[in-house]
């Protein structure tokens, strides 16, 4: 695969957002992932040329960050949080279930390239533990059954909604959002009971509400 002229224009657009173009490097590598499905050697070289760095300098950056992948990610990236809180609230079981279901270990991609499975670290969603992500969109308050259902729905090509986030698209699609390009999904409902827990308590206690 090659990085198209259009992508190069977008890379330059990212660079133009910053006072110093090198600052765009992380978003640029996200954009490369949105096109290639991973940070390819070509992607590294293109970024190096655009920003005016050596390939080694860009590799040094790319290899530092967990989100930048060396090998093509499946159509969907599935993350299961197994940090302490999620693990203790069921995350370990979810991990086992999915790993078995997908026949994939950590950072492995299924034979059909549909899924890449990853044990992920705390997602800043402990109030919603155990947490799973599909292409980084939150799938909160998971159970083994719900997790398995998510995977089979994805397999079946069914529409799926993140619990706090947009409807589920592909890994590449979401990488584009993360890189900094709008996807029109900003208004999808995403406030749930946990986020309102305190407000509801307050309203109950003051009895009137607003």
């Amino acid at each position: 695969m090659t990085i198209s002229e259009q992508t190069k224009i977008e890379l330059r657009e990212l660079m133009s957002r910053y006072p110093q173009s090198r600052s765009a490097l992380l978003p640029m590598l996200h954009l490369v992932q949105s096109v290639e499905g991973y940070v390819s050697q070509e992607g590294i070289e293109v970024c190096a040329v655009e920003v005016g760095l050596s390939t080694a300098e860009v590799s040094a950056v790319a290899s530092f960050y967990t989100m930048f992948k060396r090998y093509p990610v499946g159509k969907h990236h599935i993350g299961v949080c197994t940090n302490s809180m999620c693990a203790l609230l069921g995350g370990d079981n979810i991990w086992r279930t999915l790993s078995k279901e997908l026949d994939a270990g950590h950072d492995e991609t299924t034979a059909d390239s549909m899924f890449t499975l990853e044990r992920i670290e705390c997602q800043a969603a402990c109030t919603h533990a155990p947490v799973m992500t599909v292409n980084w969109e939150f799938m909160d308050d998971m159970t083994e059954q719900k997790a398995a259902q998510v995977v089979s729905d994805l397999r079946a090509g069914k529409d799926l909604q993140a619990t706090r986030g947009a409807k589920v698209r592909t890994f590449k699609d979401v990488q584009r959002t993360i890189a900094g390009f709008d996807d029109g999904l900003v208004d999808e409902p995403s406030i749930d009971a946990s986020m309102l827990a305190g407000l509801n308590e307050f309203k109950n206690s003051t009895k009137g509400g607003k």
Partner: protein
Amino acid sequence: MTILANSNQPKSNDNDLITAVIDGIAVRVPKGTLAIRAAEMLGIEIPRFCDHPALSPVAACRMCLVEIEGMPKPQPSCAITLTEGMQVKTQNSSQVASSAQEGVMEFLLLNHPLDCPTCDKGGECPLQNQAMSNGRADSRFEGTKRNFQKAININAQVLLDRERCVSCARCTRFADEIAGDPSLELLERGAKQQVGVADDQPFESYYSGNTVQICPVGALTSAAYRFRARPFDLVSSESVCEHCASGCSLRTDSRRGKVLRRLAGDDSEVNEEWNCDKGRFAFRHLMQDRITTPLVREHGELRPASWPEAIRYAAEGLRNQRAAVLAGGRLTLEDAYAYSRFARVALGTNNVDFRNRTASSEEQDFLTNHVAGTGLGVTYQDLEDAQVVVVIGFEPEEESPIIMLRLRKAVRNKTLKVIAIDSANSLGFKKLNADLRLTKPGNESAAISELIKDLQDQNSIILVGERLASSHGAFSATVAVAEKVGARIGWVPRRAGERAAVDAGLLPNLLPAGRKVFEPRDREVVASAWGVSVEHIPTKPGLTQLEIISSAVQGEIDAIVTAGVDINDVANHAAFAAALNKTFVVSLENRASSVIEFADVVLPVGAITERAGTFVDWEGRLRTFDAVMQESLALTDARVLHLIAIELGHTFKDDAKVTSLRSSYSSLGAVSKPGTMNLVAASTTKTGLVLAGWHHLLDNGSLQAGEPHLAATARAVVAKVSSETAQANGLISGNRVIVRSKLGAITLPLEISEVAPETIWLPLNSEGSSVAMQLQIDIGAEVSVSDGGAI
């Protein structure tokens, strides 16, 4: 006890001094001094790995932790600047510090392999040493150590053993900060962090060997030295690099008469502590193709001869002949001095020239009045202190790599601006962030004249290189501008011996120390230093190299003494060969050379490691050295010349020993002020396409012979033109281009680049691009080009 800071510290006046206390000892140091440096002044050695005085502090290894009163945590002394009254306690007086250091040591050894017995660094390894002095006797770690595939090449000559790396980032900081070649990087994160290069892209740097030297463990090793020796078997000698005019001090390590490796020596005034890969790795020439006995030609063949026979043979061939001396630019000051004297007194001629390269009478005039005998002139420190440095006909990285490092240091400190007048852009110019004024060869003097507005009211220096000799009027323009704005001029020749040759008077109009042949007073002074009567110094002006060659071809010269010249270095090498063919040739050499086949007598002299001497670097600084191989019986050029002179019936005041020649030379003193050069106007600019180029640092130079690892790191050999020139001449980027002179052609891949208009740039002596040999022209000459088709 109060210890005062030495001059190595940041500049300061008295009010900027502060007093701090280290292990109970008060120390007065300039503000901003790091605790670790102040401790060094007191002789307190704080262990460290990442710290390096020339690199920006990172405080990453945490080995140097000390206790500082009032601070809750131990602090890295390599990054703490002392303040008034600060109380520092090192491992010598603080339990906090010593236990912190022990802890860090234990961590460092955790994943370090136990391969000291087979590691090149074993015996001179800071980690090993510190493990012995501050480490635990046993390991509490029972797990598996980090595994990496064994040593990998980061370029052809440097290997990386990642298991041994302690992530001190010295090498990566060197690459980025000092060399400006940021292609060696820390990759990955956390425990997986490792030094590395990008896939398929080696660490491209002329300075890569320095990373081996500053690595505090055995993670970086050199391909050439790997597994060759143990440090304790080596004899180390201080020496000076013979490759270029930078004048690097070196440490040469040898074993049983054989050089095994060379390292950069530490000289804060010159190379600081760096050198280039050529200086470090190209030393096999010292041992290869050596001529071991004198040779004389008999029935057309060279045959071994005894020294007395050969000397006699040489003397007979030279006696009462119209003779000349061509002594190339690689001699020590003492040898050059001996040639200068030998020509005048023993051969009775001023026919002497060291310039086995493009040369001009304007250059000679410049050297005579602005260089010869002027002693220490513009220095490295001056470059660092200047506001503007202009480089003309001189690419610092390719032609004197330590100058590039020093300029870059000042550019990075944001105190210096570099202006370059040259035919093409280069990596070196880019690293210097140079304001490049692309100039077609021949048009330099116009570009130089325009410098006035840049240099007005600036502390400025102009560095001119050997290539300027090919541009008529350029030296004159430089001198005129410099006088107008009060700039100083530094002449940077490419070869290590050229400055000494000028100082020794290896020019037809010059005697040693800037004394002039046509000045009676100068002749007298020199004659008295030599211990000969003044009539022995000929007054008739001599011939330059070009003239010597053409005279010889015409039968007007009978005998030539050569030293360290390669006929293939000059465009008129065919005439040179014919000249040698026609004359009686005495060749003083240590290796087989292109001259040998024409020589009537070959007199072997010692390699640079086998004798003492002095190189004069571009600054005019004397770089004196002793023999590395003390037991060598090899003769110096001066000694051989002395024997011939005696045979010819001449004696001098001294015995031609290195030390005697040195003091004889210095008795002449230095020239106090520059002479007046005869300024010439530039000739009209050439129309049509002309040739430009320079020598790559790593190329086919004969002193780089037999170094495959080094050669593999040479830069790509390509021809370069601007896109306009390509278009105008039907050339296609990536295709081959054929460059033709009347006498030959060169075919190379073409690269579109920043090159002056109507100019094609070629490397002058690289594989497949030997301009003197193949095209037989100088830079500035007209050429024709055509597309040579796809590669």
